[in-house]
């Protein structure tokens, strides 16, 4: 009984959470909490076989299927709060509370009588007793279940199957298409440029910089662009200035032990202390303008 009083509030809270979470993934995880709690209650009530089946079939298979479909559909497929039928939410809540009150008060009125317990029925083992019942009295229901399962499997295959309407493009077709794109739209034929990795972190979110300092949009994944996690070019440029102050940019003159003086930077000659980032950033536009003239 301790298991019940510990688990029941958790399960009710998780089930209520399913009503109020916006995201479907959270609802699925809360459903897992409820299901595992139910499994423990089954074990508590002398049903060890159904305890295992609950864990394996429900939490293991069905819930994983739910999560699988959620990932296919898109994790962000959250509920809309717009009511298509006015007052539907209110009526549903009131009706639900009425149903709950009816059920609870009805059950509380009824006396379930003496509890026989399953000690005698389970005396030869729960699984053996269930099997005996399943293959004698419920054998036709069991056979019908097999028909149902195979129908469901075939139905799911038919529903999920998509007929290919166009022939699958071969490698030669893809190459032709690429060159046609180049001829008609001027699209780049070769591989996409790799992202710019500036020894800062192992960054695929930093676009490579073109010779004029502008970021190459094709060098980062479209997914990152859609998420908005790409580091902007000015921020990266600031990092470059900061980092060249620490490690040098490969073009620094190392003669006569003057570490802070650089003969030329990537944008032309730079005077002064490179660690003074702010001043350099304000000067950068000036340097960019005059960069070609110094060379």
């Amino acid at each position: 009984m301790i298991a019940f009083w510990v688990l029941a509030p958790i399960m009710v809270a998780a089930a209520l959470g399913m009503l109020f979470t916006r995201k479907a993934v959270h609802a699925a995880l809360l459903l897992a909490v409820v299901m595992i709690g139910l499994a423990v209650l089954y074990a508590d009530q002398n049903a060890p076989f159904l305890f295992a089946v609950q864990i394996i079939v429900y939490t293991g298979a069905i819930l994983m299927l739910f999560l699988f479909v959620l990932m296919l559909v898109g994790v962000d497929a959250s509920d809309s709060v717009v009511e298509t039928i006015r007052g539907q939410r209110l009526f549903a809540t009131v009706g639900g509370i009425a149903l709950g009150a009816l059920l609870i008060f009805g059950i509380a009125q009824v006396s379930v009588g003496t509890i026989t317990g399953l000690q005698q029925a389970n005396s030869g083992g729960n699984v053996q007793a269930l099997a005996q019942l399943l293959f004698s009295r419920y054998v036709f229901a069991f056979e019908a279940t097999s028909a149902l399962l195979i129908t469901a499997a075939i139905g799911a295959m038919v529903l999920a199957h998509r007929e290919r309407l166009t022939p699958k493009p071969t490698q030669a077709d893809l190459a032709k298409q690429r060159l046609r794109d180049y001829a008609e739209h001027g699209k780049h034929v070769g591989a996409l440029p790799p992202p710019g990795v500036y020894a800062r972190h192992n960054a695929v979110d930093t676009p490579a910089l073109l010779p004029d300092g502008s970021p190459a949009g094709a060098s980062v994944s479209r997914v990152l662009a859609a998420r908005g996690t790409i580091r902007s070019a000015p921020a990266i440029a600031g990092d470059i200035w900061k980092l060249t102050g620490f490690v040098g940019d490969g073009t620094r003159a190392t003669k006569d032990g003057a570490p802070d003086e650089r003969e030329s930077g990537p944008l032309g000659p730079i005077e002064g202390d490179p660690s003074e980032i702010d001043r350099h950033q304000s000067e950068r536009s000036h340097v960019e303008k005059n960069g070609g003239a110094h060379e």
Binding site: M11, A24, L41, A47, L72, V73, D79, I104, T116
Partner: protein
């Protein structure tokens, strides 16, 4: 160990599932709430099996689980098909039979 608290818990879970089916818009979440209702019914079945002292209730719960598994497979395949054609898993969008 009294049986009434188990039945009341089952009724509460069933009610929450029913309200969820009525209020939520995402078809997958609606489906999860249906599963919650099935689970609540299973808890009542297993409790009554203990009350009556025979295993018929447990066999019934087992059949419910089997049918639920089959139902989830077909239902999620239907949701996937609808999502493919409409790019949405909302139950409001599939209203073609209304007109």
């Amino acid at each position: 160990m009294s049986a009434t608290p188990f039945i009341i818990l089952s009724a509460i879970l069933f009610t929450i599932g029913a309200v969820g089916v009525l209020t939520r818009r995402n078809a997958i979440v609606v489906f999860m709430n249906v599963e919650l209702m099935l689970n609540a019914a299973n808890l009542a079945l297993i409790t009554f099996a203990r009350v009556n002292g025979n295993l018929d209730g447990q066999v019934a719960a087992f059949f419910v689980m089997v049918v639920a598994a089959a139902e989830v497979v077909v239902g999620l395949a239907i949701i996937m098909t609808i999502f493919r054609t409409r790019r949405s898993a909302s139950v409001d969008d599939a209203s073609l039979l209304k007109y």
